[in-house]
């Protein structure tokens, strides 16, 4: 066998063998990985939509997905919005939970962030930040209170406490929530959020 045909033969066989092997591995792990991704989203929906036992996509576009959280009886328990935006360091990905009437925020979960550990990263902390989002009024744009109020009760209905030492990260989250709010209310007005609609996947 001449050298060049040997080279071709070797490269081809290595290519085919590894290709075949990888396709097998890819196939075996595909479902598990898709499941893991789905679980992550589901867990977030369950956190921000109390009473929901599952979520269905009712609207989807790049960087903005709206899920309908349904309880065990299939009734609408609330909506969850999966969206992201620019943070201090990198992208912040969050899940925002609303009630069924889109009038109040049920909760907020930060799914991915790369803010400064110990400072900006505290936006993921329940006690320092997330708890203040619960029960906020969704009918108007929200704002940040700085310096932070001592307790959730002393905040007005559309105010949220800033995390001390993490003003910019807190503002980033506020920006993401407010623009999600505008978009969501507009979609609702246009009737794009119905459970039966053909926007559902």
């Amino acid at each position: 066998m001449s050298l060049s045909s040997r080279m071709v033969a070797v490269l081809t066989s290595i290519g085919l063998l590894s290709g075949g092997f990888l396709v097998t591995v890819g196939f075996v792990t595909k479902e598990r990985i898709a499941f893991n991704k789905k679980m992550e989203i589901e867990r977030a929906i369950l956190t921000v939509v109390p009473g929901a036992s599952g979520g269905r996509i009712v609207y989807e576009e790049k960087d903005f997905t709206v899920y309908a959280g349904q309880d065990k009886a299939g009734q609408l328990a609330g909506f969850a919005v999966y969206t992201s935006g620019a943070g201090f360091q990198d992208k912040i990905v969050l899940m925002l939970g609303l009630d069924a009437a889109l009038s109040r925020i049920n909760g907020l979960a930060i799914l991915d962030q790369k803010e400064t550990p110990g400072l900006g990263a505290r936006i993921t902390d329940e006690g320092s930040f997330l708890v203040y989002w619960e029960g906020r009024d969704f009918s108007r744009p929200l704002s940040l209170r700085k310096p932070p109020a001592p307790s959730p009760e002393s905040l007005s209905a559309s105010e949220v406490n800033t995390v001390t030492g993490a003003t910019i990260s807190s503002q980033a989250v506020l920006g993401i929530v407010n623009s999600a709010r505008e978009k969501l209310l507009k979609l609702n007005q246009e009737g794009k959020l119905s459970l039966e609609g053909d926007n559902a996947n």
Binding site: S18, L22, V25, G26, T29, K30, K62, A86, F88, Q89, D90, K91, T116, I168
Partner: protein, 191 residues
């Protein structure tokens, strides 16, 4: 505006070397003289920009549509290896002195984590074509900036009295750490 923040961000805020830890081997290895660093930086930027394009095309036209995204690793590295091979042949034909000067470092670009990292990060962030190109050029320039700055500092350090154990890699890493700290200051520049 979005494109500007990707570009600017790649150079200063999320600098490939000082923030993502990519391209450390050449960063430590080729940063002793400014002109070597500059050539390496520009060669890497060039390969990165082309890689950005080719990997995007392969990812979005072949891999994703056919559900083959697990083949990303193998395809990207083969693309990079071939591109570097082509660049090497090109440089050898068009400018033999440059080829001589770059020596072993040209083929070493293949295992420069920065280029593979670029392909992977671009796929991870789901950039569209223009964004991917801007990201590629920006990160290449960021790498060049970091490596040239490092070379400038090391040329000065050569004249200083560095304790024996720290010489070479040790002091280079500490300098890199201080540079990383300095670059932290750029965070939040873009709103």
């Amino acid at each position: 505006m979005e494109l500007f923040s990707i570009f600017f961000g790649a150079i200063l805020i999320n600098n490939f070397v000082l923030h993502y830890f990519l391209g450390i081997c050449p960063f430590l290895g080729v940063s002793k003289k400014i002109d070597a660093a500059m050539s390496m930086g520009l060669a890497v930027t060039f390969v990165m920009s082309i890689t950005a394009v080719v990997s995007w095309v392969i990812n979005h036209w072949i891999l994703i549509p056919y559900g083959l995204d697990y083949l990303q690793i193998v395809s990207f590295i083969l693309v990079i290896a071939s591109l570097v091979q082509l660049v090497e042949m090109f440089v050898r034909k068009t400018s033999p002195p440059l080829y001589q000067a770059m020596g072993i470092y040209l083929p070493l670009i293949t295992v420069n984590c920065a280029i593979m990292g670029l392909a992977l990060l671009s796929a991870l962030k789901n950039y569209n074509f223009i964004e991917a190109v801007v990201f590629g050029v920006g990160s290449g320039l960021g790498f060049t900036l970091a490596i040239v700055l490092m070379a400038a500092i090391r040329e000065q350090l050569d004249l200083a009295d560095v304790p024996e154990p720290l010489k070479g890699a040790g002091i280079a890493l500490i300098v890199a750490g201080i540079m990383a700290l300095a670059f932290l200051g750029f965070s939040g520049v873009i709103k």
